[in-house]
Symmetry: C2
């Protein structure tokens, strides 16, 4: 199995899996605590725009781990942003 | 200038810049508020391990935007993790 794909691809898929599922515990935590005040709004906005460019990069250069990972990461981060806006406290 | 590098590379460098600088406002916010309770510890740990694999992937496949972006992102996220541990409240 390892012989079929090369080492770089293997690292890419492990990386893609980890940096994608990483945002699940954040989403679950925000949903449970109903609070994301400590999560920077500016970070989420810049990160989401960046993810859109990674998707373009992955598509253009046929780097499929980059493409797939960033598509799912985009969905998770948009969900976190949505929850943050829903649960925000008025300062 | 645009002619020298191809479109995929251009997207890659914009993506690299955005998903890297995105963590700066988070770091600044955590430093200012002295609180990162809403930031998931599990997210940071899984994300940091994933970044290490992106660095390996970027190195092996010579995808330099991936390599450089993830190196800086790693440093920023390790800093956020450190601040979270320093400022944590005892539950």
């Amino acid at each position: 199995m390892i012989d079929i794909i090369n080492k770089a691809e293997l690292y890419g898929y492990i990386a893609a899996l980890l940096t994608t599922i990483a945002f699940l515990p954040q989403l679950i935590r925000t949903f449970r605590t109903k609070s994301a005040d400590d999560v920077s709004l500016l970070m989420l906005v810049i990160f989401i725009i960046g993810l859109l460019f990674w998707i373009l990069y992955g598509w253009q250069s046929k780097a499929f781990p980059v493409l797939i990972a960033n598509l799912v990461t985009l969905i998770l981060n948009c969900s976190i942003l949505l929850l943050k806006l829903v649960y925000r406290t008025r300062a």
